[in-house]
Amino acid sequence: MKLKVKTCHFNYILGLLITSLVLLMVLIGFFYTPYDPNEMNVALKNNPPTLAHLLGTDNFGRDILSRVMKGAGTTYIIAVVVVIIGGTLGTIVGTLTGYFGGWFDEVVMRLNDVLTSFPSILLALVFVSVFGPGTYNIIIALGIIFVPSYARVVRSEFIVLKERDFVKNAKLMGAGSFRIMFIHILPNTRRVLIPALLIGFNNAVLAEAGLSYLSLGVQPPQASLGRMLSEAQSYMIDSPWYAIAPGLMIILTILGFSLISGGMENE
């Protein structure tokens, strides 16, 4: 048991370390990149890593480190907005259904079931094929697709919490339904909601990468992690560094956030 506590702690710290490293890189990327990420240079086509270009160059001679920094930033912004949209709507839906219950809950949760029963990437594909590819469209598509997972988490917490005596106490004081829901009960769901948001961020990063890989998300020449992977595909054998850099970035992002959220749940 003691050992378990220790490894938990270790994982949590490792996660924080990885995440802060990755985030630092991305933050710097917003203000400064070693080269212009979109500047082409035919002379430097598919160069392996050198001191001048730490992660090598791609098929247009663009600096991969600069593109990873910028591209990860794009991916993160998309993921954050997706989590904000999905998390906010999901929390509201979960709060209302969990607190009121009854036929309202019944109807909304069946709609939720319908949305969950399709693989999320398939739904995103359908959405994008109707409204066309592009950054904004995949943000909206993914945001809506993420609603059910948060609604479910928040709803199940509310069902338990609304029976607690402190809620009855609040009713006795004369607090209205909305005050009870959002001021009294909602803060108590953070124990499960925050890890869920972190995991959601991970899923959004993966979904963006997937959609951009299929050329449905971020459009060239703008860089994103998925976009870069897709472009690197043809050069896998000759210039593996091109694919490794964005791939590693995705792995580190996911790993860092998973370790943190795992550590939080175990607290």
């Binding site: 048991m1 607690r164 106490n169 006795l172 004081m173 004369g174 108590n188």
Partner: protein, 511 residues
């Protein structure tokens, strides 16, 4: 003392947990002996190390626990250095345990029979029929009237008392020499409590096994234990024959404990006099309360269950009305109906609360104090916020006045303003209940409903809280409706008592 008479001896045992590099000692040089066939009581407040002692004997200490000194000898075997395999052989066969929470100690997916039988299977070899026969014999022995039926039932189908009997059957079935009962009756109603204790005593007489009875309740210890050990903060503060210990306590702490036991004694009675010609503050006429069972499926029909039948009560201003009954009698339902948390009611509930006009002229509603102070305080808010919330909702005081009122109230319930910055989980049970009472009183109500406000607290804390309630009543001229299953507590604080059974008033008289 003859050496052969001793079954278990603990010598100089110290156990600690290391927390952040510091050693937190939970047992501090404990030495005790259990003789063959005796019932030894261990009494103390929560956190005194009672349960830790039991776990050490059972070899079930958490892995993070460190043994700092001493040893435990059981019939010549050293339990602390014994391997897990040998220990497992002793557990159940030689030493067994009865837990407090019988619902969580049984596996909900297995029948009672299977679980009692499991104990036998692990420690003996019989045929299938013999196992069943022995199990049923054990179930009959502990006073379960239909052992054949119970054998096939699941834990949730039995009442708390029956489950505790089944648990005792499980502990006894392999014929152990020592049974450790950790708060075996705490979760039960008082009438069932005494039956379970008598059962333990009977088993002790019949089979001569030794029993270690652990409880925070002196009355439980007093009723069957021959010898008693008093623990506090991981130390044994006093030990001796039960009668001597309680009639003539030497240690200061033991004296406090004994004094806190609510005896049916005149000096503990509520001396607050009710005004002869006071007006009724709460009138309940022919009240029926229902509870609708959850509809099955989307279109299922809702069914209604009647919990309160035709109750009429009159509560006069300034008095304390006690409502007594066993669990399931409808006490809490009645309380919720009075404060308006239960909407499915027929009949009249009238509250003449005209005198309860707070500073700003608004009329305040009756307030309620719940049993579990942890559940009734929002775990994610600070105490200061929790106390201010009713003022925000029910008064139009400004921010400054609200803070002043909060500061005043927290001192009224015997705490200091430094607690306002803390969260509920940082307070002890007694402190939490003080805060819960402050939350109820902060809006100047005239009528307060108290639903088992002291049942989850230690005896010494109980006495303090009751004393405080009486003081506050005198000061603010409050009217209490006090709900409890504990007659002693009721006797200490109430002027009139109303006994409820199955949703009906069966008796009503002066305390």
């Amino acid at each position: 003392m003859n050496k052969n008479e001793i079954l278990l001896s603990i010598e100089d045992l110290s156990i600690g947990f290391s927390k952040g590099g510091k050693m937190n000692t939970v047992l501090d040089h404990i030495s005790l002996e259990v003789k063959k066939g005796e019932i030894l009581g261990i009494v103390g407040e929560s956190g005194s190390g009672k349960t830790m002692t039991a776990l050490a004997v059972m070899g079930l200490l958490p892995e993070s626990a460190k043994i700092l000194s001493g040893g435990i000898d059981f019939l010549g075997n050293e339990l602390l250095t014994m391997g897990e395999k040998e220990h497992r052989r002793l557990r159940g066969k030689e030493i067994s345990m009865v837990f407090q929470e019988n619902m969580s100690s049984f596996n909900p997916l297995l029948t009672i029979g299977a679980q009692v039988e499991e104990m036998l299977r692990l420690h003996s070899k019989y045929t299938k029929e013999e196992y069943k026969a022995l199990t049923i014999k054990a179930l009959r022995e502990v006073g379960l009237s239909k052992p054949h039926e119970i054998y096939h039932q699941y834990p949730h189908q039995l009442s708390g008392g029956m489950r505790q009997r089944a648990m005792i059957a499980m502990a006894m079935v392999a014929g152990p020499k020592l049974v450790i009962a950790d708060e075996p009756t705490t979760a039960l109603d008082p009438t069932i409590q005494s039956k379970i204790l008598q059962l333990l005593k009977k088993m002790n007489d019949k089979y001569g096994m030794s029993i270690i009875l652990i409880s925070h309740d002196l009355r439980v210890i007093q009723s069957i234990c021959s010898r008693t050990i008093v623990m506090k903060d991981g130390r044994i503060v006093e030990s001796g024959m039960t009668n001597e210990l309680f009639t003539n306590p030497c240690n200061q702490y033991t004296k406090e404990l004994v004094a806190a036991v609510p005896m049916l004694n005149k000096e503990y009675k509520n001396t607050y006099k009710v005004d002869r010609d006071s007006h009724p503050i709460l009138t309940i006429q022919n009240l029926n309360v229902f509870y609708s069972e959850k509809a099955i499926g989307l279109l299922g029909k809702k069914s209604r269950k009647q919990v309160i039948r035709d109750i009429s009560i009159l509560v006069n201003e300034g008095e304390t009305l006690g409502i007594v009954g066993e669990s399931g009698s409808g006490k809490s339902t009645l309380a919720k109906a009075i404060v308006g948390l239960n909407k499915e009611i027929e009949g009249v509930i009238k509250i003449n609360d005209f005198t309860a006009i707070s500073n700003d002229g608004s009329v305040s509603k009756p307030q309620m104090v719940f049993q579990d102070p942890y559940g009734s305080l929002n775990p994610s808010k600070k105490i200061g916020w929790i106390l201010e919330e009713p003022l925000k909702l029910q008064s139009n005081l400004g921010k400054k006045e609200r803070v002043a009122r909060v500061n005043e109230m927290i001192e009224q319930v015997g705490m200091t303003t430094k607690y306002l910055e803390r969260y509920p989980f940082q307070l002890s049970g007694g402190q939490r209940q003080r805060v819960a009472i402050a939350v109820a009183l902060i809006v100047n109500p005239k009528l307060v409903i108290l639903d088992e406000p002291v049942s989850s607290l230690d005896t010494t804390i109980q006495a303090q809280i009751l004393e405080m309630l009486k003081e506050l009543q005198r000061k603010y001229k409050l009217t209490y409706v006090f709900i409890s299953h504990d007659l002693n507590v009721i006797y200490q604080i109430c002027n009139r008592v109303c006994v409820i059974n199955q949703g009906e008033i069966v008796e009503m008289k002066e305390a």
